[in-house]
Amino acid sequence: MPETMRDRGLFWSPAPDWTTARIDGNGYSARRVLDFGQTLVSGDLGAAVADMMPGAPEVGLWSVAAAEPFALRIGRDRALLVSPAPLAAAPGWRNGYVATPCDAAYAILEISGVALREIVAEGTSVDIEAGSRSAAVLFAGVTVFLYRIGPETARLHVEAPLAAYLWAWLEGRR
């Protein structure tokens, strides 16, 4: 029977079982962190943080976030509020900002180990030690939000459909 249409499903990286997926590479390990709350806010970021997570610190590129909650700065007018669990905040405009729940919109990959800087150097050309107000950066060709939660542990937030690709990229360097 002639092939009339290609199965493009085979084109994409297969998604692993995220509840158990783990990479143990040379000097690093990686896993996906599940169940965090993520709320995208645009506009008056000060008002958004005061309303939804008062006192939460702002985190930029390669900054160390000591604990959730925190406001991950990803643009001049935009931040991703990261919380230990999804926020109950209603979506929509108010007080000069708009809130968009996106708990599942971004996958959070956590990379840990002495090889962390080597991995980051492979994935992006940004000077991480110079810092940057925005955590949004090109990593392995896709936009991620990059910061740390410890000296040798980093997290990447990536649009969920791209998580399998980024996972395959990490596995490829094992």
Partner: protein
């Protein structure tokens, strides 16, 4: 690799940026009365200077539109400026 300067983020790799337009173009108005050749000039024709130029660029990862002054021969970047109006 070349580094461009985003007014918000600082220096980033050129691959994070997208050219938008030459700066200083004025959209012809009123749109309904603008003849086709004037629209074509506005949309498709650039001065494309050899040397110093001013252009609008987008830092795609953070979403910042900004004005960049650069040299089209040497590729040297003279400066980047926010397009924001000063706060009232």
């Amino acid at each position: 690799m070349q580094l461009f300067l985003c007014p918000f983020c600082g220096e980033r790799d050129e691959t994070e940026f997208t050219f938008c337009a030459e700066a200083g173009k004025t959209r012809p108005e009123p749109a309904a009365e603008v003849p086709a050749d004037a629209w074509a000039r506005y949309l498709h024709f650039d001065h494309n200077p050899k040397g110093a130029t001013r252009e609008v660029w987008l830092h795609a990862t953070c979403g910042e539109f900004f004005l960049m002054e650069r040299d089209t021969v040497s590729h040297a970047v003279a400066g980047s400026h926010s397009l924001r109006r000063p706060e009232a």
